[in-house]
């Protein structure tokens, strides 16, 4: 295995190619490599690149992809501009992991499906295209209930993406082809497994995630809730946003984590909120639509209840949040 300590972004991009992987904090990639789940031939260390700043610009917060989660959580600007982000970051993994893990690495974390992460399991279409899915075939309780396909039901892992989805953040990507830069709404970064579960993000070959941009809004309220039985394995989470005008919901976002193959917008739930006066009754009407489009299996009958619980809790937090963010 070849180790490249890139000194510039251009040098990092120049080393991209088949078998090459970018290294942010490297914690997850080292674990997956050790287990034989990932087999990188070339590691491109991004530690020295100038992607570690957090800047408050006009109307937005820009976060470099190599910012450590601990630094993100402790940054006063984040607390002022996007307290939701701080709340979510403070619950990701463990404090020691957050000292090393990066924003970019967390966003591109591979799924925690136990049978994907077990290289001795021969039936995982995510690792071995066309090999089936041992979770489905052996009726394990693991797996997502939204956005699944016959090939794969692995739940996406990023919690940061759930929060950033509610915050309407954008990601900036840089391609090795002519150093072309593009921006995407964060939720468009993720793709459903379909028949190609080996692909989890809409990244082109060698494309590098360089930063995340969070717009600032004084009119929006946010809420977050999660259920976890271990710090490394949140079962379900929800981040919500409600934009209110005279107590009317003019815009809403409800993002589910842990239960879907990608950070999941509960669109029917959002639709139920829009145009109505905010109230406890409205929260219940919206919660009743959380499971629209869900595909629970007999082996995961406990998961729909988790989805409604986290959305209800997150919406209540948003309703009760009186101290809205001001510029």
């Amino acid at each position: 295995m070849e180790w490249i300590a890139a000194k510039t972004v251009a040098e990092a991009l120049a080393h991209a190619g088949p078998g090459a992987r970018y290294v942010g904090g490297g914690l997850s990639l080292s674990l997956l490599s050790e287990r034989g789940v990932e087999r990188p031939q070339r590691l491109i260390d991004l530690s020295a690149l100038p992607l570690r700043s957090i800047e408050g610009r006009q109307g937005e917060l820009r976060i470099g992809a190599m910012v450590r989660l601990a630094a993100l959580g402790q940054e006063p600007l984040v607390q002022t501009i996007a307290p939701l982000l701080r709340q979510v970051v403070a619950q990701i993994a463990t404090p020691a992991i957050r000292n090393q893990a990066t924003v970019g690495g967390e966003l591109l974390e591979r799924p925690r499906c136990p049978l994907f992460r077990d290289a001795t399991n021969p039936r995982c279409a995510k690792r071995l295209p066309g090999s089936g899915c041992a979770v489905l075939e052996e009726a394990h309780a693991a797996g997502a209930i939204f956005g699944t396909s016959a090939a794969c039901i692995a739940a996406s892992a990023s919690e940061l993406a759930v929060a950033l989805g509610a915050l309407s953040a954008q990601v900036t990507l840089l391609s090795p082809e002519g150093l072309a830069e593009r921006s995407l709404p964060i939720l468009d970064l993720y793709v459903e497994p379909g028949q190609t579960p080996e692909r989890e993000q809409a990244l082109t070959p060698g494309e590098l995630l360089t930063s995340v941009t969070v717009p600032v809004s004084s009119q929006r309220r946010f809420g977050y809730a999660r259920i976890a039985d271990s710090p490394l394995l949140p079962l379900a989470s929800a981040a919500v946003m409600m934009e209110l005008r005279d107590q009317q919901v003019v815009e809403a976002r409800v993002i589910l984590g842990g239960l879907a193959t990608r950070p999941w917008r509960a669109r029917a739930c959002e639709q139920a909120l829009r145009g109505h006066r905010v109230s406890d009754a409205l929260v219940e009407l919206a919660v009743a639509r959380v499971l629209d489009g869900a595909k629970p299996r007999p082996d995961s009958r406990h998961l729909p209840a988790l989805a409604t619980q986290v959305v209800r809790a997150a919406l209540r937090h948003a309703v009760e949040e009186h101290a809205t963010v001001r510029r």
């Binding site: 034989g36 993994a93 463990t94 020691a96 001795t120």
Partner: protein, 205 residues
Amino acid sequence: MTDRPEDGELSRRQFLVASAVSAALAKTASAQPGLPPSAALSPARPIPREGELLLHWTVNGQPQQVVIDPQASLMEVLRESLGLTSVRRGCEDGSCGSCTVLVDGKRIPSCLLWAALCQGKAITTVEGLSPDGELSPIQAAFIRHKASDCGFCTPGQVVAAHAILSEPWGSDEDSIQQSLCGQQCACGRRPQIAAAIAAVRSQRG
């Protein structure tokens, strides 16, 4: 190189253990048996072979050069090349905290950290907390509060507790519990560990 257990070969970690065992044997026997160590500390000028890396770093205050396999974790290099077995091989997925060390003063699970990411860094294990043989305040507090039982997790707990004292946590019980997330003690000494941290914190005001 392959890590797949069904191949029936030594996995890389098993290989490293074998290397460490053979390196230990080499100290007592004159002949070097079996496999060469994948990472070796040399007093002179270590020369990396193809595919290896030369690290310049500081371990417990000592500047060193060490040749490593780019796939080696910091935990493996500290244990098997430098003999610092206070750094435990625990869960190896970052959740137990028995391998916690400081990298430039910040606690990190060394089992998941590629040593190659530690170029130019200062590494501190529990040995580095009492360089002159004097117990650091947190070590003394661990003894006073009987915060250790079997001792397996203790070095990682002490390093983590040392780091927690310089992190921005609140002083209430809930904050101390949150700060210890990822530090497990199978003997159930968590309350005593938390008490030791609280005691040092209150001494410092």
